[in-house]
């Protein structure tokens, strides 16, 4: 295949990828935070049927969308070193997986 495609900056891809890490980490932080703080757990209960999971999922999704919009606006026309941003995302996602793992957050909460 001949490579005749015009070049495109990597900023938009980096913004999407980092935002996914930010959304995921937000979910992790809210999950562990709700275990550690009864006040936060109550505040996250936006729907009685769903419980605190309602607030965790809504606020994590908002963090994801808002961070994506901001990063996309800042980076869309730039080269931002995609490799470094991918590494940053890997760290954010690793944190998210740890913070949503029950043995971890229950141990932190002393359960």
């Amino acid at each position: 295949m001949a490579d005749s495609t015009p070049r495109m900056t990597d900023g938009a891809a980096a913004a999407a990828v980092v935002a996914s890490g930010i959304g995921a980490l937000s979910m992790g932080l809210l999950t562990t935070g709700a275990e550690l703080s009864t006040g936060l757990k109550t505040a996250l209960t936006l729907n009685a049927g769903v419980g605190p999971l309602s607030g965790k999922t809504i606020f994590a999704t908002v963090a994801y969308i808002v961070s994506w919009i901001i990063l996309h606006t800042l980076w869309k026309d730039k080269d931002v070193d995609f490799g470094r941003k991918a590494t940053l995302t890997a760290v954010l996602l690793a944190g998210a997986v740890l913070l949503t793992f029950p043995i971890f957050f229950q141990a932190l909460a002393g359960e």
Binding site: T5, R7, A16, V50, L53, A60, V97, T100
Partner: protein, 177 residues
């Protein structure tokens, strides 16, 4: 033979949307993996990209629908509190599991992990779908970006797979009727 509306929605969430996402993963992965200039002619690239961007976009939509239906439709039935003094907890899966020492870990570990880890998947697969849609054939010539998309795609599958497997096992221990 009949199914209740709760059983219907549990099926839609798990066996419909969730299973569809997991089953379509192999096709998406093969598409991303083979998106390399040395493997494809221009016509092959065009054909492959058409399938790939529809495939990953539909997967992203399905992933969102899976977590939204699970959280906002099925989960409230799972965590419903039984009335004071109730002895038959069959209609209250969470309480049923917690009341039985041999089953309690299905909630305190299984559901606690499932309900949270599942939500990481749509963020990740949406990013992959966006990059495939925006960069199209440029993804074929950018090894680092393509490899990152493959890694993220696999991670979204693993996380959804954990949630799906736990959901199936929890439903077996305490079905929603």
């Amino acid at each position: 033979m009949s199914i209740t509306s709760r059983e219907f929605w549990t099926l839609v969430h798990g066996m419909g949307l969730g299973a569809l996402f997991l089953l379509s993963f192999a096709g998406g992965l093969a598409g991303l993996w083979s998106l390399r200039p040395e493997y494809l002619t221009n016509a092959g690239m065009h054909e492959r990209l058409g399938r790939l961007h529809w495939g990953v976009s539909i997967m992203a939509v399905i992933c969102w629908l899976t977590v939204i239906s699970g959280t906002w439709i099925v989960y409230p039935w799972y965590r419903a509190k039984p009335p004071e003094g109730a002895t038959n907890l069959a209609a209250f899966p969470r309480s049923f599991l917690m009341a039985n020492e041999a089953l309690a870990r299905w909630h305190s570990f299984g559901m606690e992990w499932k309900e949270h880890v599942a939500w990481l998947s749509p963020f990740i697969v949406t990013a992959v779908a966006f990059v495939v849609l925006r960069y199209r054939e440029r993804l074929a010539t950018n090894d680092k970006m393509r490899q990152t998309m493959i890694n993220l795609f696999i991670l979204s599958f693993v996380l959804a797979g954990i949630a799906g497997a736990l959901g199936a096992l929890i439903t077996k221990a305490a079905p929603i009727h």
